[in-house]
Symmetry: C2
């Protein structure tokens, strides 16, 4: 009996959401902007929106005598900022997953928002396993 | 009249706090741990403590059907984690400032906490300007 070769279904791994982690140094910023928590949070939310990401939650802290840390949680990951108004410096990172997001756009927006005279931006590809489905996750609204 | 040269005070720039940003990929983790928000938050707080950092605030979110994002705000910067329990994967970053902190120690703790079978760790030096004083900032407890 001649065996018919079984046709194997080719398993194509989904490409997975591309995770890009941007490390941004902002120099020469306007100091008062870096000490204004309301302005900072508003700017991060705007940056997320411009990156095509979905804002979910935030937390922040003001330091003595100056400086602010703010973290915003996105459906696609997060944005953080740590500011040193006395030096016009802010350390930022923008991490987003998914092909629809543009983390570099968020970085460029923040560069302008804080009137930075000089900046450096490094974009790193995160290395998720290929088994991560390309399907976006839904934030569970009822969760804390 | 012979002018006496004015002795200029030499301005010595403080070295500034060294900012280290660790990018950690955790593979082959125990899935149920990656979907347990309480365990995740506890682990991040423990990791911060082992790094010599001071926990201040946290926020987190649970995704549908699974996965957690948690951000903890430290006096010395932050730790973030984004988990994909279905793939046993977590994307972590640990950013700390100050010579007294050991972010790699936090990373190694998290590797064990989530029973990761494989991981990759990249440590980046952040580039604050030298004008940042080496003096640690005090969190303003009264702030929101």
């Amino acid at each position: 009996m001649v065996q018919t070769p079984v046709k194997m279904l080719e398993r194509v791994e989904p490409p997975g959401p591309v995770g890009t982690h941007c490390i941004l140094e902002l120099y020469g910023c306007r100091s008062e902007l870096l000490n204004n928590a309301d302005y900072i949070l508003r700017s991060l939310r705007n940056a997320a929106q411009r990156a095509g990401a979905t804002f979910l939650k935030e937390t922040f802290h003001c330091f003595e005598p100056q400086g602010v840390t703010a973290l915003i949680l996105l459906a696609e990951s997060h944005i953080s900022i740590h500011t040193w108004p006395e030096s016009g410096y802010a350390a930022v990172d923008v991490f987003t997953c998914g092909d629809h997001t543009m983390p570099e756009t968020a970085c460029h927006f923040l560069t302008q928002a804080f009137e930075s005279s000089q900046y450096s931006l490094h974009s790193l590809r995160r290395q998720p396993p290929q088994t991560i489905t390309a399907t976006a996750r839904t934030p569970l609204v009822l969760a804390a």
